[in-house]
């Protein structure tokens, strides 16, 4: 049953091929067996998962199960879960048990989904390799010497290894799409404001967006609707109706205008990756789409822009972790300043500190205009680039990441190289537009992701475009050999 997609699992549960409890037990077994190999989870909530499963079985028995009842999922450990440790991948919150549920957790739980556990992630979602986690790196299921990408590396690895059929994730600069690409799974970052950020521990508030890592676009479509929508507790969530994403999955692509971002194919893109992208585009042409080259001249500035805006917001967002009310507190502080300095000095890892310092610097008197304000202006230009592009095309298609997964440790000491991994994904965050990544082949036996971006609130169209490709290909059904068997050794 581990090879089934979420939509298949839903049918099988309804057909009583197995119970929710059996499914949950099976997945919990896989999670336990895979944990030493992948380190994909920070917390496994076996007990509550089984009780949720039991309740779901009850609903099936009485015929009152909803479309998502009993379907298992994992939450990225950035989402607050009541009564369950919510660490955000940091020593700072290693002792933090959330007293409340994030809106996303609350909604999916209300829909009857079963939470298997909390997935590993880069510390406070800052990283592109999952190496900054306080809980150790997550390993790529396709090759355990490689990174899974980040920051949602745990969610991507868990879905790729079929430990969970679907997982929540968050994306600030590519944290859903890049690990989805590196792990050969489907990841969607919705429009900024589509999914409530309440209870999602903030990294960079104007860029953070919750989304999903799934086996297929169809699976993502099933769950996205249930987690989306206006939330009065998040002022930046947008009050616009949530469409039924499943209904439009099979719309024809005839006449679809696909934009190719000229700047993305110019340099830095691995030639083998490029070939797979071009192959995927041929599939779309065959389905009736037209390819149009578009220019987004400000887009190459997205990495430096991001690395001003995101650290600026993070430096302020993470100020609340001061050792006073919750979280890590240094032993025997001699005074208030010592409490602050040592709690934060000992509680945060190197990458988090680097970003807090960068952010503090760019917001400082005398530097604010040169960095923060200028970055905001460039962000406007990038916004306009996207807006203009979507006047002539329906979607933008290109690579998700410049290359396949790299070795653990390979870029850990070079933050600039690490940051460049997000070069194709950051633009969508800066512009707030939705984007997803789907597997489109393999280079050196490692998965490659195809990125599809659309205008604001075009999630239905993106899922439709992705689903059309997944009906023509089976890249998304490939499972890493080490995790192909039902019983993991």
């Amino acid at each position: 049953m581990h090879t089934s997609t979420l939509s298949e699992l839903a049918k099988k549960l309804r057909a009583k091929e197995f119970s929710v409890t059996e499914l949950t037990q099976g997945l919990l077994g896989r999670i336990a067996a895979a944990q030493p190999k992948l380190n994909a989870f920070i917390t496994v909530t076996a007990e509550s998962a089984l009780s949720q499963a039991k309740a779901a079985d009850g609903l099936f028995a009485t015929g009152s199960a909803g479309p998502l009842t009993g379907l298992p999922l994992a939450h990225k450990d950035i989402f607050c879960t009541q009564g369950v440790k919510t660490s955000c991948g940091s020593k700072m919150l290693d002792n933090f048990v959330s007293p409340y549920d994030a809106t996303v957790v609350e909604k999916l739980s209300a829909a009857g989904m079963v939470m298997l556990g909390k997935t590993n992630m880069d510390e406070f979602a800052m990283g592109s390799s999952n190496e900054t986690s306080y809980y150790g790196p997550v390993r790529n299921p396709w090759d355990s010497s490689l990174v899974p990408g980040g920051s949602s590396g745990g969610s991507a690895a868990a879905v790729a290894a079929r430990l969970a059929p679907i997982a929540t994730a968050t994306d600030t600069g590519g944290s859903i799409r890049q690990p989805a690409s590196l792990c050969g799974v489907t990841g969607i970052k919705p429009t900024y404001g589509r999914v409530s950020r309440y209870g999602m521990i903030a990294f960079a508030s104007s860029l953070d967006q919750g989304g999903l890592i799934a086996q297929s676009a169809e699976d993502a479509a099933m769950v996205l609707g249930a987690m989306s929508g206006f939330d009065p507790r998040d002022s930046t969530s947008v009050d616009t109706p949530v469409p039924n994403y499943v209904e439009t999955l099979n719309a024809p692509l005839t006449g679809l205008r696909i934009g190719l971002i000229k700047e993305f194919f110019e340099k830095g893109l691995d030639a083998n990756v490029e070939k797979l992208i071009r192959d995927a585009l041929k599939v779309y042409e065959k389905l009736g789409a037209k390819l149009i080259e578009v220019k987004l001249p400000a887009l190459p500035l997205s990495v430096p822009t991001y690395y001003v805006v995101a650290p600026a917001e993070c430096s302020s967002n993470l100020a609340r972790f001061d050792g006073v009310r919750y979280g890590y507190r240094a032993q025997d502080p001699k005074d208030l300043m010592d409490l602050y300095k040592r709690s934060r000095g000992e509680g945060f890892g190197a990458e988090v500190k680097r970003r807090i310092m960068t952010g503090t610097y760019v917001l400082s008197a005398g530097y604010y205009d040169a960095y923060y304000l200028k970055a905001q202006r460039v962000r406007q230009l990038i916004n306009q680039d996207f807006k203009r592009a979507f006047e002539s095309v329906d979607v933008l298609i290109g690579p998700t990441a410049p290359d396949v997964a790299f070795a653990i440790g390979a870029k850990a000491s070079d933050p600039i190289q690490m940051y460049l991994n997000d070069i194709y994904t950051i633009g969508a965050n800066l512009a707030g537009v939705p984007a997803l990544s789907i597997p489109c082949g393999f280079v050196r036996d490692l998965p490659v992701g195809l990125q599809i971006a659309g205008p604001h609130f075009a999630e239905a169209r993106l899922l439709n475009v992705a689903h059309a490709y997944q009906k023509e290909t089976d890249w998304h059904r490939r499972i890493p050999a080490a995790f192909a068997q039902e019983k993991l050794s």
């Binding site: 989402f79 607050c80 919510t86 955000c88 919150l93 933090f96 959330s98 007293p99 409340y100 994030a102 950020r197 309440y198 209870g199 999602m200 521990i201 903030a202 960079a204 508030s205 104007s206 009065p232 507790r233 998040d234 002022s235 930046t236 600026a312 917001e313 430096s315 302020s316 993470l318 100020a319 609340r320 972790f321 001061d322 006073v324 009310r325 919750y326 979280g327 208030l336 602050y340 503090t360 917001l363 400082s364 008197a365 604010y368 923060y372």
Partner: protein, 497 residues
Amino acid sequence: MSDSSSKTGWETVIGLEIHAQLSTASKIFSGSPTAYGAPPNSQANLVDLAYPGVLPVLNTEAVRMAVKFGLAVDATIAARSVFARKNYFYPDLPKGYQISQYELPVVGPGHMDIVLDDGTKKRVGITRAHLEEDAGKSLHEGLPKQSGIDLNRAGTPLIEIVSEPDMRSAKEAVAYLKKVHTLVRYLEICDGNMQEGSFRCDANVSVRKVGAEKFGTRAEIKNINSFRFVEKAINYEVARQIDVIEGGGKVVQETRLYDPDKGETRSMRSKEEANDYRYFPDPDLLPVEIDAAYIAKVKTSLPELPDQKAARFASQFGLSEYDAGVLTSSKELAAYYEQVAKLLAGGPNQSNRQPSKEQAKLVANWVAGSLAAALNEHNLEIGESRIDAARLAGLLGRIADNTISGKIAKDVFEAMWADGKDADAIIESKGLKQITDSGAIEKAIDEVMARNPGQLADYRSGKDKLFGFFVGQVMKATGGKANPAQLNDLLKQKLAG
């Protein structure tokens, strides 16, 4: 220390930053209640405690109140204002930043007129007024080697009202502060309670040589919470700065704290030690958009404002500008005054009848005089007065109809204040009814004249001043109850012989 602003050759320059807590039921960015005095941390929810993942949601009632204030000071209301984060670490600031407004405040330039001692009007510019959240409180009492944090106040909405450096003495600063205090209470956007910290101010003070164009270096005096302290703190600071400069030194830009016990200000931190607050727009909150229709709606909700009411009192009741100003210094006092005046004019059933100028003046003298003094002495608000409007009108009615004299009325007033009875009951029981029977008054005059032949002779030989002596003697003889006007007339006749 004397009022050093009068020190010759120097000019004082003052600007005030007033923090007024808005009287919303819940906090500015969370649903927690804002009531004062609850057990520590009982009014702080996860948002106030800055738990991971929580987000602020703007209480639009706070915006409405700020707009009310803006309209009342004739200010520009920003079509779009932005909340910004002011970043600094302090235990009573759970998020590590305060949500405030920085570059784009909700209320733009406005002004307020104050009346100076010599009766002239002065316009004080209001630079801006912005919304922000209050911090919590650190508690040190009863916690050896530890500090407690009470976050009940964290997130309480504040409006910070920033003036131009337009005031030239501590007295002007106090007059302005009082005027703003009156206004926010009229608008019912702040309870104005200074002891509880609902209304407090920081003063920016500098001095310069008379005629100098440039302002001197200023010091900011923090968190002054009474009108008296404002005056004292400013006067101390002005004298200090003049001493520094005259002693050949330089005033440094710094933040100073007023110590009411010692009556002095002392340095808190210098400009160099000042925080770099790293303000930037809060990405968790949308800009506040205010359109003309909203402003129009708020405008219709504005009450009669203090200046409007004072002008009406002056014209409608024929009061002096001064009396009108005093009687409208609070909405409750003004209402009390109007009620007494109307009752006196026509009784409770004819409340539409306008009081005569004399009646209006009589009421004004009593409300601003004996009543205000009694309230002040017992530290009571007008709403807590032991003599309500109806009973004061009853007393004044007895003056107007000559039942008692104004002098006797003061005794009746005291008795009313002390035991809560009506004026008539006291007049009756104490036999204070004025003697208006001319026969009785004449009899008393005759007796006094008979007892004081020497004075009578002196008076009649031209010592007019002795008239007062005879008035006093007759009053004494009648227990103060003789009708003063009648007494005057009769005495004149009799003394003339």
